[in-house]
Each structure stands twice: as structure tokens, then as C-alpha cells.
Subunit: 156 residues, 2 copies
DNA sequence: CAAAATACCATGATATACCATAAAGCATAA
DNA sequence: TTATGCTTTATGGTATATCATGGTATTTTG
């Protein structure tokens, strides 16, 4: 790969009874260009699904492999959680992936999924949880920047 | 080789009276692509079976050979244990391997085996032991999280 | 030859790939 | 701007292929 790519935007799609969702078309374009695959796993810290390109995990695996720390407990834990949870998700000719029950349950997703771009990775939220999360994020930002210009504040 | 491959996901399969288990189909695909073989041995630190491609053990052996580390006696011992225990496991035309009594006993596996991907290697657990282990790991990770360096990558 | 290990066959369940229609974006021309 | 046709995308439905697993045949080995 080594191409530039960014997962961006926020897109809401339907999830049917079988767990099928359309991957946003921009994301599909990234997959095609990169010649890699989408990999998803439960976020370690939030009630959402996280996704990235398999290349990213490849990189992680290589780092661990080369760290000469064949028997480290910490690495063992990490690899168990990340690789033990992650799975490839190929999309069919209509652009859909099917999310597993495990992932959907973790993210509390029923019939609607919100894809949120995060650059090198992306997240999938339930509409309710994402709404709350976005609010939290905005509040954190505001606190950290008390001196935002009035113009900026009235934007949006 | 240097092909890309990752053992991922957590998959539960049945073990019959003869010790036969289906190797997850993704794992089989890796074996075919790599033109290497699956090797399994008793984990040195946990009640589980550990597996990887034979290439990996090759690499480990080379590393030991080339590191004239005066203080690596411990690592040397560990690798001796692994090589003394490891064995090739070929799968038949239906995708099954036959786990030995020794391995099954060590992992306390009766009629169900849980395959847990770890990137370049994987583990096989009994459902009960894996459940406990996963919980332990999550607790440890949560505690250490702020100081984990490789984990930066998986941050939000 | 007996016992065990290994390879092959058959089946149902499940996941995957494909088809068809609807909806939405996009460009061009009026 | 507004209307019109075209292309791309989303989504419900269905056919197909794959996989896990119980069973049996065949080979190996002691």
C-alpha cells in the first residue's frame, strides 16, 4: 500500500436482520486502492466497533515480532485482545459487510449504524451512543480551550 | 516467505472422541498460502495449547543462534522446552487436525476447543479457561493502559 | 493380525455471493 | 435557479458455496 488514505465523514446506514450494512462508498474506495482489507474489533475503551485496514495490524504484529520479546506478558495480553477479537470483513458486490452478533452487541447497535471517520481508522456507533459521545467530545474541547474566538464559537 | 498473514478472531469448535478438531478455515488459508505447516506445543505459561507456523520457530531458532547474549540462559531454556514439545499438525481434506492427549490434557480440553488468534501465533483453550483468562487480561490491560507504549496505536 | 492412526465421504447448517429495485446524488441544458 | 436524464449507492430478497462435524474406509505400525 503506502498510499495516502483517510477515513472521514459521518455516515448513517441501516443494519438488517442478518447484520448486513453498507460500508460507506468512500471506505470501499480506500480498500480497493490499498489492496488491503477491512478489519473490525470491539473498542477497548468505548461501546463501539473499531475498524482499520489489515495493513495496520500487520504493522503492529511485525513490531511485536521484531521486539525480541518473545515471552513478554504485556505483549501477550495485547495480542490476545486485539488479534483475538479482530476479524476481516470483506464486502460483497453490493458493498455490504455483515457484522457479527458479538460486535453489534458491544456497540449496542440494533438497526442503524453510524460510521465515524478517524483518519487511519474508523468507528461504528449506535446513533444514541454516538450522539452522547459527540457531545462529550465537544465539551472536552471547549474546556481545554477556554479562549476560543467568538467567531469560532458561533460557527456550525 | 515474508508473506502477510495474521491469526485472528476467536472461534469455538468441537473436539470429538478421537481428538479431532476443525482448524478455523482462515487459519487453513494461511497455511496454504504460506506453504508452511502448523506447529503446536504446550504453552509455557498458561493452561492452553500454542500454535504457529513452522517458519516462526525457524525464526526463533535463528535468533537464539545469533544472539550471543550472555544473560539469555533463561530464554535458552524456554526455547528448549518449546522445541522439545513442538510437533507438526497436518489437517486432512476436511480441515481437521488431531490433537494429542498430552496437549488436550495440558489445556484441560474435553469436547470443545476455543481458537484465539494472536497475530503471528494462536492459542487453543478450553471454553472455561479462556473465559477466565480473557477477564484477567482485560483487567490487567485497563490498569496498565496509560503506560502501554504499543497500545498508543489502538487509542481513540 | 490387531489396534491405532490417518484419509475420505455425506449431511445439514451457516455464511457468502449475486440479482433486482428503489433511492439519492450529479451533471447538463433550459 | 429549475427540470431532466444518467450514474452511483443503498437495501430487500434469494440462490449458491463453504464449512463444521458425524460417520466410515483405508492405511500404517507394532
Amino acid at each position: 500500500m503506502r498510499k495516502n488514505f483517510l477515513f472521514m465523514d459521518t455516515i448513517t446506514n441501516k443494519v438488517d436482520a442478518k447484520g448486513r450494512v453498507s460500508l460507506p462508498s468512500d471506505y470501499r474506495a480506500i480498500v480497493k486502492e490499498s489492496e488491503s482489507q477491512i478489519v473490525c474489533y470491539r473498542s477497548l475503551t468505548s461501546p463501539c466497533i473499531e475498524g482499520c485496514l489489515e495493513d495496520m495490524l500487520e504493522k503492529l504484529a511485525t513490531e511485536i515480532e521484531n521486539s525480541n520479546d518473545f515471552f513478554s506478558q504485556e505483549q501477550d495480553d495485547l495480542t490476545n485482545l486485539i488479534f483475538g477479537d479482530a476479524r476481516r470483513f470483506l464486502f460483497d458486490s453490493t458493498g455490504r459487510i455483515v457484522l457479527s452478533e458479538k460486535l453489534l452487541a458491544h456497540a449496542q447497535i440494533k438497526d442503524t449504524a453510524v460510521f465515524v471517520g478517524k483518519g487511519r481508522k474508523f468507528q461504528i456507533w449506535s446513533p444514541e451512543n454516538w450522539e452522547k459521545e459527540e457531545l462529550k467530545i465537544r465539551q472536552r474541547i471547549m474546556q481545554q480551550r477556554p479562549v476560543l474566538s467568538p467567531a469560532k464559537r458561533s460557527e456550525n
